[in-house]
Symmetry: C2
Subunit: 394 residues, 2 copies
């Protein structure tokens, strides 16, 4: 049953609509960190790699994430950051299509995905091209020179969703490899990696999965292609026998070959603890709750604030678990909201972004948030000098 | 003054000689983790990127590490794993020498450094070659087709040290770019990055720096070349304006361009807390203490255990802060030692490895350890079936 507010510690007076940027803290986090730090590291020291089974933790966490994205156990590797996982996926995909020279993405993709792809092809320096049409033009842009289609399923600014099934099918029909970035999907919408047939997916865990600031990323590879992958980031923990200390790299015969270096045990443990809150959650129920919250939010805000222009799709079926409004004074307005306990965020140039996390939000929260928004917008409370100074992160 | 045992929590009955693999837990770790998790993440949520200055943490920690390796503030970026940092350095160095095709390392290097370099050149696929002569033949192998010399200063198995000044000078005289891996150097021996004139250094922080399991890595770039580096791993947090969300990558005009994705805030905070133990430590004093401990250890062990053959250099000036002994039954013997509270580790095929961390070890520890070693070896206590089964990490 949703929500599961009792599993989270939300500060008094806060309505947190930014779980799409940094998920809220599960109550279990602190105890797990303390266990890892004082008992495992502190008491077991180096032995904890075995006695606390740190070595198996990346795979254990990967299996739990797999369960949330419609993927089989053993198909998800964890570690590093999403940027690194994008690089691994694109590099592997390009090697699977040696005769093609185009990476197709879209200009709504999160910038780091584009940067990482560009950094890779500049490094390879063999005439690769990164194409970024508008999101709605992607399907038409899939041509038979495309090696890789790399898209983020849910747009970080607007919440618009790509049709994973249709685009994957078209990409593969054209002979391209498909990579999905699930940053705003994992834990937000039902994902069926197996059903999609896509070769790769990547994602982060500090948003809807509540792993904490900078928690590790993940990468999925379709089981039938795993052993063909030639890892660009050929780290020792992706080796078939890391502790044999062989001079030559031999990739593990599993998704483990997409591991790189020593795993961040404390953050992986926090993520593992956070995933407890997902035990038994039915993703269809989660999606229904998410849509109910976002539809209610749009109705309540639009009826009170004609100044705000919906920047997300109207149709909830094509929208992730967030709603954005465009507003010329969006930056200042978001600061004013945050000051009053309604925490969303701002994305340049004018997007006020609100995320819906049915694990710890209910309808009362949404109505209360809409009232504060109405107050801030209707009474121009954002028009105070203290809300105009930009901080680095919003 | 050394040691600073009061800053660390070493379990009763343990003599910890494996700080070269995973440093001991500073007492400050738990309180800092609790602060970051319950106060910053829990109470401030997304705002903590500003209010707790998470955005500045990677650079703050980088500056503190810089101080320990003879590098100026602003020259060290932190994050990711050492494997990733090796990849960044090698990729950047190869682009600085576009007409050369050889990476020179040695066959004593830690395997992941070799794997990452190989993965990179296989990805670029333009006829690059990774050469790995024996460590003692490296100087002679520096020829004018070498683009990059990439070495680990202190050998992970034996503690043998390369001459950083001499090799860097020879590499640069031949027109090559120099990369030093400081995994077993940072916090272990005095390092003078500025004085070495090397272009790059990389390292990890969970060994002598005590950052905790999987704490983030670091990369140094010589300040005069930073703005020529074309990052292969062009992540958004290395962008000049990450939150402008530009479609094209523009690297930061500083070492920040070697940052990649979202930093692991909890582990960075643990590392930051661990670095407090290094405040005011004089590296010359540390080195003197380290040599005193290792010389005493060799003397005490050799006098008691003729069965053990010293696998480290006799001359402490050419040895890092560890001592290794070769022993045919080394694996079982190490298990027997660990069972008796003397914790070192084993590296295939026959190396018993002991690290010396003057922050939390004194001469009494060394003598006590030698007595336990004498008991285990002299009385064949390792010859018990329970010590023969290999675990994954030792």
């Amino acid at each position: 049953m949703l929500p599961r507010k009792d599993l989270f510690d939300i500060p008094e007076g806060v309505i947190y609509l930014d779980g799409n940027s940094l998920g809220a803290m599960p109550k279990a986090a602190q105890a797990r960190a303390s266990q890892v730090i004082t008992q495992e590291w502190g008491k077991e020291l180096i032995k904890a790699w075995n006695t606390a089974d740190w070595m198996a933790l990346p795979q254990k966490v990967g299996d739990r994430i797999a369960g949330l994205i419609g993927a089989p156990a053993g198909s998800v590797a964890t570690g590093d950051t999403l940027s690194i996982k994008v690089y691994q996926a694109v590099a592997a995909a390009l090697r699977m299509r040696p005769d093609r020279r185009v990476i197709l993405s879209d200009n709504g993709n999160f910038p780091t995905d584009l940067y990482m792809a560009q950094g890779l092809i500049d490094t390879i320096d063999k005439g690769y091209e990164l194409r970024t049409p508008a999101p709605e033009d992607v399907l038409a842009a899939i041509s038979d020179d495309v090696a890789v289609v790399m898209l983020t399923q849910v747009d970080y600014r607007t919440g618009r969703m790509h049709d994973m099934q249709a685009i994957t099918k078209a990409a593969q029909a054209a002979g391209a490899v498909m990579i999905w970035d699930l940053a705003h999907s994992a834990g937000a919408v039902p994902v069926d990696m197996t059903g999609s047939n896509a070769e790769f997916a990547v994602g982060c865990t500090y948003k809807y999965l509540n792993g904490g600031p900078g928690s590790p990323a993940f990468i999925y590879a379709r089981p039938d292609i795993v052993n063909q992958i030639e890892p660009a980031l050929a780290g020792w923990l992706g080796h078939d026998a890391p502790f044999a200390m062989e001079l030559g790299y031999r990739p593990a015969m599993s998704t483990e070959r997409l591991r790189v270096g020593t795993p961040p045990i404390v953050q992986l443990s926090l993520l593992d603890a956070a995933l407890d809150a997902w035990e038994g959650v039915d993703m269809a129920e989660l999606r229904a709750a998410s849509i109910e919250l976002s539809e209610l939010f749009i109705k309540e805000v639009e009826s009170r604030c004609p100044q705000l222009k919906l920047a997300s799709p109207c149709d909830p079926e094509t929208r992730g678990s967030q709603v954005s409004f465009a507003f010329d004074h969006g930056y200042a307005a978001m600061q004013a909201l945050i000051d009053r306990g309604v925490i969303g965020d701002f994305r340049a140039p004018d997007i006020m972004r609100f995320g819906f996390t049915p694990l710890y939000l209910d309808k009362d929260d949404i109505i209360a948030a809409a009232e504060v928004i109405a107050d801030v917008i209707g009474n121009d409370l954002w028009d105070d000098p203290k809300y105009q100074t930009k901080s680095r992160v919003t």
